[in-house]
């Protein structure tokens, strides 16, 4: 299982990469491995406001479906439309295949997320 040092992690196995006030959101290597072959990703629309734990998309693999939850609140300013036709990118490189970008309403919410070490421990307990 790959975990990147410079990212934040949510309990729903989303990762957050912070660039200024922008939060790039994707799902972790652990999550993609659990799901297996991803075949369809339902993306939200850009422009909507989301609160923490709102559903911002869903991911369907051959054998399962999983919702993606907002790890931070704010406005969705970009969605990765490439994933609509190539959902397998999330399997191939989960930390490159971001799903949405959120313009954060309160960057203080990042403190509620896990760092790499905490997330690794979290996954061990879940496995």
């Amino acid at each position: 299982m790959k975990v990147l040092e410079d990212l934040k992690y949510a309990k729903g196995h989303e990762w957050v990469r912070v660039e200024g006030n922008k939060a790039y959101i994707g799902i972790t290597d652990f999550a993609q491995d659990e799901l297996g072959d991803i075949v369809y990703i339902e993306l939200p629309e850009a422009g909507i406001h989301v609160d923490v734990d709102d559903i911002i998309g869903s991911i369907e693999s051959v054998k399962a479906a999983a919702d993606v939850y907002a790890p931070v609140s704010g406005e969705i300013i970009e969605v990765n439309e490439e994933l609509e036709n190539s959902p397998e990118l999330v399997n191939e490189d989960p930390y490159d295949a971001w799903i949405v970008v959120i313009d954060m309403a309160d960057s203080g919410e990042l403190d509620n997320l896990m760092d790499a070490e905490e997330y690794e421990k979290f996954c061990e307990e879940e496995a």
């Binding site: 297996g36 075949v39 369809y40 051959v62």
Partner: protein
């Protein structure tokens, strides 16, 4: 969890182990999609040792089985395999199984793993003969399936028995394959050509390894339960617990050709006759999603905002690259071209009835 003789082999091959009805089995080794395509294009090797085997032997064996199952085995000759549902008196399904005729009045029943105990008890309960052996021999057998167009070529390297002579739904007993005596049956659960090999359980690992060696360079890959499910789904083969259950009759599941209503009395005959005469109220229908979305087992099916049934199996059909499903729906909504809605995660998405099997060679 129970383990098959191949458990260590699966973990060594990187299999992702899941709990499948109490059995520790690999859902995949590399990827369900890769394993699926390998079976359609070359070959895949499956461990199906969890399946149950029940031996029925004695002078009343044929008569007894005729009473227990819906298909007709009265004209079955030795060396043949027959598929049949087994029903309750109300027409609901106990299980669906394969029957091998080993000798006159000696049959091997191959049943779904999770139903083995239930089937055994049902068979015992309904046995009135004093001269019949009914024995659960599941732990005596390992079962390996090689499936896909390259199966015969691979397996032929390991045996001098001409496999060409074993035709579809036939088997040969005591065939030496890779130094192991096996029942070699030309059957499967994928819609592809292939064989199922019944071996003494302690020989299972040995045979698996020999087949993997023989398949190196032929495109053979180990394949898990995930691919087994997508492969059977594409050819619309029923899965007990989904398309069949105590609440679903084989007629409703579209298995009428395996229900011989004109043979002598058998358990469930009255109820099934009534269903056939009165006309079915609900029926299994294949459908394709019109709207984007993935239908899954248990999702509700709606028409005119009323619930008309539920999805029994659904998902991406990897060979066809379509989102498809099977649903048990009110019969008036089961005709080709009929449109209905599948409730997918809070949304009603349009689907239309298409013919099955979805995929055929």
């Amino acid at each position: 969890m129970k383990k098959t003789p191949l458990y260590e082999t699966h973990t060594a091959l990187g299999g992702k182990i899941i709990n499948f009805g109490g059995w520790a089995l690999p859902v995949q080794y590399s990827s369900i999609l890769k394993e699926h395509h390998a079976v359609r294009n070359a070959a895949g090797l499956f461990d199906v040792s969890h399946m149950g085997e029940i031996l029925i032997e004695g002078k009343d064996a044929q008569e007894y089985l005729q009473h227990m199952i819906t298909n007709d085995i009265s004209k079955m000759s030795q060396g043949r395999a027959v598929y049949s549902p087994m029903c309750y008196r109300n027409g609901g399904t106990v299980d669906d199984l394969l029957i091998y005729k080993l000798e006159e009045n000696k049959y091997l029943l191959v049943v779904n793993a999770s139903n083995t105990e239930k089937d055994y008890e049902w068979l015992m309960e309904n046995c009135t003969s004093d001269d019949l052996l009914i024995k659960d021999v599941s732990s005596d057998y390992g079962l390996i399936a090689i499936q896909g167009p390259a199966s015969q070529k691979i397996l032929q390297k390991l045996t001098s028995t001409p496999l060409d002579e074993i035709r579809f739904f036939r088997f040969a007993d005591n065939v030496e394959v890779g130094g192991v005596k096996a029942i070699v049956s030309r059957t499967g659960y994928t819609g592809e050509d292939g064989f199922e090999l019944y071996v003494p359980s302690y020989q299972t690992v040995n045979l698996w390894d020999r087949i993997m060696e023989a398949g190196a360079g032929e495109g053979l890959v180990p394949a898990g339960l995930g691919a087994r499910d997508t492969l059977r789904f594409e050819v619309a083969l029923p899965l007990y617990g989904q398309e069949l259950s105590p609440n679903i009759s084989p007629l409703e599941a579209g298995l009428g050709r395996f229900v011989k209503l004109n043979k002598q009395d058998f358990i469930g005959k009255d109820a099934l006759l009534r269903q056939a005469e009165e006309g079915l109220k609900r029926k299994l229908a294949g459908f394709e999603m019109v709207d984007k979305g993935m239908p899954r087992t248990g999702y509700k099916v709606l028409a005119d905002e009323k619930e008309i049934g539920f999805v029994t199996s659904g998902g991406l059909a990897p060979t066809l690259k379509k989102n498809l499903g099977l649903a048990l729906v009110n019969v008036q909504h089961s005709n080709l071209g009929d449109e209905f809605y599948v409730q997918v995660r809070g949304k009603s998405l349009k689907a239309k009835v298409v013919s099955t099997p979805f995929y055929a060679k």
